[in-house]
Symmetry: C2
DNA sequence: GTGAAAGCGCTAACAG
DNA sequence: CTGTTAGCGCTTTCAC
């Protein structure tokens, strides 16, 4: 904290009151042209930057939004956060972003941090625990994006989600069209996502006349440390000729294992697209999330809620696009 | 901003003064055990969260650091920012991150924003303009990372940089060892990085007995819109059998163009490594930046400077690792 | 058009 | 051990 030049210094240098400096710098109309001009010059020369904390405390809002995500290193969240920042910026809001690494404890800390920073609203990818968001948030507006907490009755917040069932079903169906006869799944450890994606996977199989088989339904650990082993299990031991993978972090581990298995080409599909999948020798079918709309919609809803606290919460589902290669 | 329960409410509910609440909650030793206990309970029940703005304004520091990078979507900066956040967190600091998209105007805005937020220090990847950082920053501690501004005399700030010359030279040399006879370069638009990496490229050629040739030295636009065309120019028209690419964003465009050219395998090298390069049919030699150390060192220096404003600025160079595939 | 004064929520002397 | 008071930097009535 610079602790340096304040409005008082500017006022003194300009020979006016602090009030006038404030008015001049906030473009209030009630200031004479040359007074304003003079004050602005002096402020510049002095290198004056208004103290945003003082202003916010006075104005009772920060024009800052909080964003809580699991991990910025996950390409999906990298993109999502960028979209959110751009949308927020366009609306005149700053953004503070925090990672939770899927940890409930870190999520709780993140929430406290943002609340103490007095953010005007929060966008959150729920870590999925039994967290009582209403108790913690008080009446700070919030919207859930990508995942929502386990529902117990009415959820007081908006949620902007992708249609996981439809997206997954489409990918698995495409794999079947490509000729896959036995498609395994490596599912996510994230319960909200996992449940929905599992449903889509099973629906696609059933619709095509295949019987879901628990022996080829695996779940990745949060750190994906068992994925390579699962890959071998499904493709070698269980003789799957197709594999659906529930997110991009799992996919990376699968791709890392694949060459070592030295198998004939398999039918590979997954949730989340990455641009570099285009470069792989192995074609991948993916459900690409509508990240831009996800972020924009979340911001839109949040701002609407900030504007009108009585706005009723909604659930918004956006469709994923199937990318065939 | 919740505008809700304040220290005053807690004080009233507990039947004590605001000062006592403050002391109880900040773990000051001068409070009776049960008083503290009672206050903590009441605070919890009321859902009290201290107003960080008020506290910061009073304490004259925010325990918040600002980070300015070009683009979080660039994997190098994604990783760097995560490392910085973790290191800052460990030291008890929050982080506010801003993207500039290599724009001088946005960099100026970012600086203002952070200064108004009263951050205790700033880590910045300079956009490279003639910006007078000293004038803007006043005595807010700052350190440059990855790039520093054009030097005019003494630079008042620490800088933590990678050894671009060494890194580039090593990659190009490796390409030559692999048998490349004519290695072109597609350089970055970022002047600081570009200058150093060009030097490394030419040094490697010269050392190996090749003559640098301006006809095969190209520069990417900031948005990389000309990279695919340059790729064709160098590999087809100029018949290069090797290519050095100055950063990971350029590399992606090159990879996108390569298949269409339908050439025999070329010797490909670049600055910045990405994990997924492992999966490509085309082996790539890279200079991998020591991102973790870069971030940690930057934070260390910044905190040191915050601690002791008289600390003399240094330039720290870290070596890149050559990854051969 | 401008100044004086109050107050946002908090902590740090200073008393007691 | 606890209460009173002042003040951080700013904006905003309310006067003039």
């Amino acid at each position: 904290m610079t602790g340096k030049v304040t409005i008082k210094d500017v006022a003194k240098a300009a020979g006016v009151s602090e009030a006038t400096v404030s008015r001049a710098l906030t473009h209030s109309p009630r200031v004479k042209r040359d007074t304003r001009q003079k004050i602005q010059n002096i402020a510049n020369n002095l290198g004056y930057h208004p103290n945003g904390l003082a202003r916010s405390i006075r104005l009772q809002h920060t024009h800052t939004l909080g964003v809580i995500i699991p991990d910025i290193l996950n390409a999906f969240f990298t993109k999502l956060s960028r979209v959110i920042e751009d949308a927020a910026d366009k609306a005149g809001y700053d953004v503070v972003l925090v990672n939770t690494d899927e940890s409930l404890a870190k999520e709780a800390n993140a929430l406290s941090l943002l609340l103490e920073k007095q953010v005007d609203g929060i966008i959150i990818t729920s870590a999925g625990g039994p967290t009582k968001y209403t108790d913690i948030l008080g009446n700070t507006p919030a919207v859930f994006v990508d995942r929502m907490p386990p529902v117990t009755g009415q959820l007081a917040y908006d949620r902007v989600l992708v249609d996981n069932i439809q997206g997954t079903r489409a990918v698995v169906t495409e794999l079947i069209h490509q000729g896959a006869q036995r498609i395994g799944i490596i599912n996510s450890a994230v319960s909200f996502t996992a449940t929905e994606r599992m449903t889509g996977y099973r629906e696609a199989l059933t619709q095509a006349g295949f019987e879901p088989d628990a022996a080829i339904e695996a779940t990745a650990r949060t750190d994906n440390s068992n994925v390579q082993q699962m890959t071998r299990q499904l493709l070698v031991n269980q003789k799957c000729d197709g594999l659906f993978v529930a997110d991009n972090t799992i996919m990376e581990e699968v791709l890392r294992k694949l060459p070592a298995l030295d198998l004939p080409p398999i039918h590979l599909g997954g949730f989340d697209d990455q641009d570099w999948f285009d470069f792989l020798p192995q074609p991948i079918v993916t459900a690409r999330q509508p990240i831009a709309q996800l972020g924009q919609t979340a911001i839109d809803r949040l701002l609407a809620k900030i504007d009108d606290p009585d706005l009723l919460p909604e659930e918004i589902r956006l469709a994923a696009t199937t990318i065939s290669r």
